[in-house]
Amino acid sequence: MIEKVTDQLIRALGELDETQVIICVKTLLENGVDRFCIQSLLNEGMKRVGALYETGEYFIADLIVSGMIYKNVLELPRMRYVPKLGERVAGRVLVGTAEGDVHDIGKDLLKSVLSANGFDVYDLGTDVPPKTFVSESTRLQPDIIAISGVMTVAVSAMARTIQALSDANLRDRVKVIVGGMCMSEELSREIGADAYSPDPLEGVAVCKNFLLKTS
């Protein structure tokens, strides 16, 4: 029975059938399946969404909805999990949209993919000034900072953020990955980021690599 529900859950998330997803999760919880196991099933479902995006069947609107469903499930009473400060999950990532830029769709997509991959994600929101990146890095000690931006002004804001991290002597303690349509491989190198990716899935692989190297 449980096996049937787990299959159903993966399929339902792949099909973005929210009602079905919630029903499956509740059933699994009632049957004593633990939250981590459920989360890994969700991640399987998210992989299906990603695959359908890659074939062109799904587009941004579908990714936005997959992120919403994922978030709603994690907010169910018995799914909620707040890692303690200092506790290590896959790794801790601070995400935010660069100063001056309020576009958050790309950032939110990145966030759900990171969470789906076991990262402990802190979202600083949009229009995040360099000094906030610095103060939050000091407070939360992330392994990685991921900055998103779509507008031309975001490029210089990212550069200023990276500079501010250096000025605060944090730069060698944290990796910086940048993305969003204002960025390119070349620009990311110019501003001194550690990595760039046009794609959140690839970005997550890069983040995992960072952690492997540091550990």
Partner: protein, 386 residues
């Protein structure tokens, strides 16, 4: 040329570029310049955005300095001060960062579709207004409400003044804000009611209601306007007959495009063709995955703005449509004068002739989007180059 002749000349080269029957005398140049105009003319953003005279002044100054053939933003794109007396929460101006922020907000919840569909005026009054104007339901006085109308008047006058001064003092035809335009229902829900996340969610969770709302808006606004297009005559100062927007396609899969977008958009395109009009579609982001839908459009009616796609590829795939764009904000902002002019020349040599209008890919908004000297050099070059 005096201004009257210049206006006629500009109208002619734009017409020739879109109609694609004969080569225009030279390549037309559209300005995709927005808040940058204010900064370049020496005002702070808040100064001009809150003072109609200064806003007018910055637009006219801009055009006198650079001499484009059409200003896409030929008026007041962001009249946030109009509803300020009753409260607004989506705009924010930051003079220090020289940035104007617009938040992606939803002015209704999914539950409000029922009223939307049953009684649209009541829905606007009871749901949208109080959500959009956050002081609407509180301590609002009649004077404050009246002030909105005063300011609206100021806004209308400002737009009128800009358009008329662009015509008479600068020999420049009308742009986006003073040309006939209608927005399909999907675009309205996306831009004005539900925001991006709301739209994405409604298409999946309550597709029937969402579609019914799109259809209702189309019935009320789009289709009557298309009816009018049949008999309307071209305005004396027009650059094109009709302007369409393509913004909300940026999030759609092909399936969603076919369900929510294409049917009414196609009706709009068909109406333009049936009335033998010219139409400029201001499109954002990438449109590439929808090009196959435009392949059969008859030649000589449509000009599409190209933001993220490769404009050379666009022309190759859609030789029946005029392409608008080509100049990258990154080059205008970060390149040298020589690089900019040489790229403009390359674009005109490759694409010029029928079916191409030079413009900037992005909506130029921030100071660093363009170095004024680069822009001046490109504008001077384009006017002279044959």
């Amino acid at each position: 040329m005096n201004n009257e002749e210049l206006l006629a000349y500009r109208q002619q080269i734009i017409e020739d570029a879109i109609r694609m029957k004969k080569k225009p005398d030279r390549t037309p140049h559209f300005a995709n310049y927005w808040t940058w105009k204010i900064l370049d003319s020496g005002y702070k953003l808040s100064e001009a955005l809150y003072d109609w005279d200064k806003l007018e002044d910055s637009t006219i100054k801009f055009q006198k300095k650079y001499g484009f053939d059409m200003l896409v933003d030929d008026g007041v794109r962001d009249p946030m001060q109009v509803i300020e007396p009753i409260g607004q929460s989506s705009y924010e101006v930051d003079d220090e960062k020289e940035i104007m922020n617009i938040r992606d907000v939803s002015f209704m919840s999914p539950d409000d579709y029922d009223l939307f569909l049953k009684d649209y005026p009541r829905f606007l009054w009871e749901v949208v207004l109080p959500n959009k104007a956050n002081r609407f339901n509180s301590d609002l006085t009649l004077e404050q409400f009246g002030e909105v109308f005063n300011r609206f008047n100021g806004y209308a006058k400002c737009t009128q003044n800009i358009v008329s001064r662009l015509n008479t003092e600068c020999g420049t035809p009308a742009g986006m804000l003073s040309t006939q335009s209608t927005i399909p229902g999907y675009e309205q829900l996306f831009n004005f009611y539900r925001g991006i996340k709301g739209t994405a969610s409604d298409m999946r969770r309550i597709p029937d209601k969402f579609k019914a709302a799109c259809d209702l808006l189309d019935e009320m606004q789009l289709y009557p306007a298309l009816e009018q297009l049949k008999t309307s005559t071209r305005r004396a100062n027009a650059s094109v007959d009709f302007i369409g927007l393509m913004l909300g396609h940026t999030i759609l899969s092909i399936k969603q495009w076919e369900a929510f977008y294409w049917p009414s958009f196609k009706r709009m395109l068909d109406a333009v063709v049936a009335a033998d009009k010219t139409c400029y579609i201001f499109s954002e982001g990438s449109t590439k995955r929808f090009w196959s839908y435009f392949k059969d459009l008859p030649k000589g009616h449509f000009a599409f703005h190209v933001e993220q796609d490769d404009i050379f590829e666009f022309k190759k795939e859609l030789p029946n449509c005029c392409a608008v764009g080509g100049m990258h904000a990154s080059l205008l902002g970060g390149g040298t004068k020589e690089q900019c002019v040489s790229y403009a020349k390359h674009l005109i040599d490759e694409l010029g002739g029928e079916g191409f209008i030079l413009s900037q890919d992005k909506m130029i908004s921030y100071r660093n989007d363009t170095n004024p000297e680069n822009l001046k050099a490109v504008c001077d070059f384009v006017r002279e180059y044959r």
